[in-house]
């Protein structure tokens, strides 16, 4: 017993170097099997180009002269767009970082009452789209809402001037709303990173005299940094992309500006140019994420895991941890969810009809198909990159995964413009040659919509899958190859099973995102093809917040199922920790 343990410890220590040296090899050769993988490279570039097309179309509009419109925009609204967007990013970034990492560390490393429940409950706000929580809090907190009514009734106030109450429809309100529903991105990725950390590393830090806080700060946090930065980058991209909340709160950002310029002013080129400016912010975020990941290319130095030793929290510490975990769940899910539930009881009997169920089915199918497609493409791209990374394919992949932060409406333009052009060209050719009119073949089809989702959400699946591929060491890959498995068989039999939990994570992330997606669906959906999100948006826009509750609640409920699944998978993904 004693000897076996000693032997184990010794080999743990010794094992750490080879994994790193293999990593070094892979980098030095620019791919594992230098040369002879042109098929992969070609595939990578082709897919990336296809996915990048809408973004490129948008960026190309920078060179389209728009004259006075642009001058007008830059003199009037542009400074406001920029400052609002920056404040939004700062607020949401700090908020999601603190809440996400703090709660992830607490539930992974500590033991306090309710911790098992918080592990999954903290993901629940992910099911609530920012615009839904914004509508709900507005309904609850505006002048006619229950809270202010109660205050007035209790204190006998007549008008809003007689007392102070936070204005929900403001920049601060938007930051609060988005933080509450976006922190789970940071929570989820950093928790997965904490779980994947070798217990030996943490124990080693304990034996070197680190207390819980120091172990967290100097070992766990740096090791998890790539995942944390990826999570914050995701949350910020979401914040930059948001349309429903800022539009409803009348906080002018790029997205509302683009929408207004395009639909209101009928200036697609100027709208696309605003989009291009927005891309600068996105470039900064992507660069940040990339740089931090390059500096921290950790392979797991051991594949031995044991149950994590948790810190037992007692007394005020336990209470603090409990409150710290409870508040995000309550404010981000329970409170607005409860309100939606009450309102749904009120308006449900009228609103829930056969049409409602067909909308739900539409949403489900769209999301599932998009999730499967996005994960497959991401997996092949990430794996192809690992096998054979040329500078060209690297650039292509980067561009392709930029679509995530491009507002849905702009992506829609980027797809619609070339699609309409192609359809018209084919139609003209068919009429000239065969005298048949084919009309619009691709524009306004489900396929085009799925393509838009792929463009928009490829970064979600790609980031997750790519980050997790580092779990497969280069020598594991080489072992599979020498044991007679080709690149595809290796992907199927080694990478996919090892990173299974990350693949499912990626799929669920895309699923939920598509469920909530609004602007692209609004523009690109086939004629008479509605989803729950569109109905919610339409009803809330008419200030029929209570009537919007059933469809909003449905979005939230459907979002919960994969969130629960996801939580279970993450908990199980740790080898050796399975029940």
């Amino acid at each position: 017993m004693g000897r076996a343990q000693q032997e184990r410890l010794m080999s743990d220590v010794n094992l750490s170097t080879p994994a790193l040296s293999w990593g070094r090899f892979g980098r030095r050769t620019g791919g594992l099997f230098g040369g002879g993988n042109w098929g992969w490279s070609l595939f990578t570039i082709l897919v990336a180009l296809l996915v990048a097309t809408p973004v490129l179309v948008v960026l190309a509009h920078v060179f389209v002269p728009t004259g006075e419109v642009w001058t007008h925009l830059s003199q009037t609204v542009l400074p406001r767009y920029i400052s609002n967007s920056l404040w939004l990013m700062l607020g949401v970034g700090v908020g999601t970082l603190v809440i996400g990492v703090g709660t992830a560390w607490a539930v992974t490393m500590c033991r306090f009452p309710g911790v098992r429940q918080f592990e999954w409950a903290l993901l629940l706000p992910l099911a609530v789209p920012a615009y839904v929580i914004a509508y709900t809090y507005t309904g609850l907190m505006d002048f006619a809402g229950p809270i202010q009514s109660t205050i007035r009734a209790v204190f006998g106030f007549q008008t809003a001037r007689e007392y102070w109450f936070p204005r929900i429809r403001s920049l601060e309100g938007a930051i609060a709303m988005m933080t509450l529903v976006l922190y789970p991105y940071v929570y989820m990725l950093s928790r997965a990173a904490f779980l994947e950390q070798s217990v030996c590393v943490l124990e080693a830090s304990r034996t070197l005299g680190c207390g819980p806080w120091r172990a967290f700060r100097s070992v766990a946090l740096p090791l998890a940094r790539p995942a944390i930065v990826a999570g914050v980058a995701l949350a910020l991209m979401e914040a930059l992309n948001d349309f429903g909340t800022v539009q409803y709160f009348a906080v002018d950002t790029f997205t509302t500006g683009i929408y207004r310029t395009w639909l209101g002013l009928r200036e697609p080129a100027a709208a696309a140019q605003l989009g291009a400016v927005l891309m600068l912010f996105v470039f900064a975020l992507v660069l940040l994420e990339r740089l931090s990941r390059r500096q921290a290319r950790y392979h797991h130095t051991t594949n031995r895991y044991r149950s994590l030793p948790r810190y037992h929290l007692k007394g005020w510490k336990a209470a603090l941890a409990f409150i710290g975990c409870f508040l995000p769940v309550f404010l981000g899910f329970l409170f607005p969810g409860g309100a939606l539930l009450l309102w749904s009881f009120e308006t449900g009997p009228v609103m829930i009809d056969a049409r409602f169920f067909s909308l739900a089915w539409n949403s489900f199918i769209l999301s599932s198909v998009a999730a499967v497609v996005a994960v497959l493409v991401a997996l092949l791209l990430a794996y192809g990159q690992r096998l054979h990374a040329s500078p060209a394919s690297k650039l292509a992949v980067r561009i392709a995964s930029m679509g995530y932060a491009v507002p849905g409406s702009v992506i829609a333009v980027g797809i619609m413009v070339p699609l309409v052009w192609t359809d018209n060209t084919i139609d003209a050719w068919m009429r000239a040659t065969f005298g048949i009119s084919t009309g619009l073949l691709m524009t306004g089809t489900i396929g085009a919509l799925i393509f838009a989702y792929l463009v928009r959400f490829l970064a979600v699946s790609f980031n997750t899958v790519e980050a997790s591929l580092s779990k497969v060491t280069f020598s594991m890959e080489a072992a599979s190859r020498t044991l007679g498995h080709g690149p595809l068989a290796t992907l199927r039999r080694v990478h996919v099973p090892v990173i299974r939990s990350s693949i499912l994570t990626a799929a669920v992330l895309v699923f939920v995102d598509v469920m909530k997606e609004l602007p692209a669906t609004l523009i690109m959906r086939p004629f008479n093809f509605d989803t729950l999100a569109i109905r919610t948006f339409a009803l809330a826009g008419d200030e029929r917040l209570r009537e919007a509750a059933p469809s909003a609640l449905a979005i939230v409920l459907v979002g919960i199922i994969p969130v629960v699944l996801l939580s279970r998978i993450i908990a199980k993904s740790r080898p050796g920790d399975a029940q």
């Binding site: 094992l15 080879p18 040369g35 594991m476 090892v498």
Partner: protein, 371 residues
């Protein structure tokens, strides 16, 4: 333990072109030459060690043999078939070479049980035969009781054995071992090393192994290829490298040596313990003389303090041998500090005068290095 006959002298009959042949193989990373014209043949059933300091290109050579790396120049042949030929030529990918690779970190698949890890290379085998084979190799490495365990439940030594079984299971024509024992602590290493040698010899598979440890290479190898800066410095049986090194580097690599210098006079060089012949060195050339500590055999001096005597500075028992630090006056009257290694317990007192007998078979004379 099973009785196995091990051929350690590499004199087994050679079939022309069988096994692995590296023919003038060269490779570089980003302009830096890592492997520089390496030619080497591993005969069927033979175990060849690539030995050398870190960064000498031994691991890259191994990866080229596996097909994990594509050589820029030269040819690689496996059982008379060309499997790699420079850039642009043939390149059989690793999965089609039927080679077994044992990794430094074992590279077991964490999501698969021991059974499934071993089964990984046998996917095209009929189910019954596959089971049979898995059982066979697990018995061979003494791990049959662990078929359903997962890698994280095993110790380092056990993981190594599973990795060996996994690599051997498909019956490869060539086994490639990359520092396979460096992850084990020293006590366990001897045991696992011995067992691995028996398993490999029993399987009769050609093996190319990489190590930086000369003792390990001598323990395992039929022949050793000592590498430096991407080139093979000397290739031969362990006894050749140890007893007939072609360069000071080779003699030095196999353990600590005493270095003294001298001038060639009449085809010989002077040492404090007598003259050594200096073949191939011109009259008056500066020579470097390497004397292994075990070549200095000590016995108590019987009064005389003439040629071949030394004063003891310190003596230490190291276990199987004793190390005696000596002070000797050389021809010029300067003092030399030399080490002598004597078998068993041999601990003369400090300042004692010892008579030194020189074993000329363990002394090597080379032209002195410039600078």
């Amino acid at each position: 333990m099973k009785e196995t006959r091990i051929v350690l002298d590499g004199t087994a009959p050679v079939t022309e072109g069988e096994g692995l042949v590296l023919d003038d193989v060269g490779h570089s990373y980003g302009g830096r030459v890592v492997v520089d014209g390496v030619s080497l043949a591993v005969e069927p059933g033979e175990l060849v060690c690539l030995l050398g300091p870190s960064g000498c290109g031994k691991t890259t050579t191994l990866r080229i043999a596996a097909g994990l790396e594509r050589p820029e120049t030269g040819r690689v042949m496996l059982n008379r078939r060309v499997v790699s030929q420079g850039q642009g030529g043939v390149h059989i990918p690793p999965e089609d070479r039927n080679v077994g690779f044992l990794f430094q970190d074992y590279a077991l698949f964490p999501h698969l049980s021991v059974f499934d890890n071993v089964a990984f290379g046998l996917r095209h085998w009929p189910v019954a035969e596959r089971r049979q084979r898995i059982h066979e190799v697990l018995v061979q490495v003494g791990m049959e009781a662990y078929a359903s365990a997962y890698p994280h439940m095993l110790s380092g030594g056990q993981q190594q054995r599973i990795a060996l079984a996994r690599a051997l299971a498909p019956g490869p024509r060539l086994m490639l071992l990359d520092e396979p024992f460096s992850g084990l602590d020293s006590r366990l290493r001897d045991q696992v090393r011995d067992q691995t040698l028996h398993v490999l010899k029993e399987a009769g598979v050609s093996t190319l192994m990489v190590t930086h440890d000369p003792e390990e290479a001598m323990f395992m190898a039929d022949r050793i290829a000592l590498m430096r800066d991407g080139r093979i410095v000397q290739l031969g049986r362990p006894v050749d490298l140890y007893c007939n090194p072609v360069e000071a580097f080779v003699a030095n690599f196999f353990g600590e040596v005493n270095r003294i210098t001298g001038k060639v006079r009449g085809g010989e060089v002077e040492t404090p313990f007598g003259r050594l012949s200096a073949p191939g060195l011109g009259e008056g050339a500066e020579a470097e003389i390497l004397i292994r500590p075990e070549a200095l055999f000590l016995s108590p001096a019987e009064g005389d303090e003439g040629d071949g005597a030394a004063k003891v500075v310190a003596s230490r028992l190291l276990g199987r041998s004793s190390l005696v630090h000596l002070c000797v006056g050389d021809a010029q009257g300067a003092h030399l500090h030399l080490h002598s290694r004597m078998p068993g317990r041999f601990l003369p007192a400090e300042d004692e005068i010892m008579k030194v007998r020189l074993d000329r078979g363990q002394c090597f004379v080379f032209p002195a290095q410039k600078g």
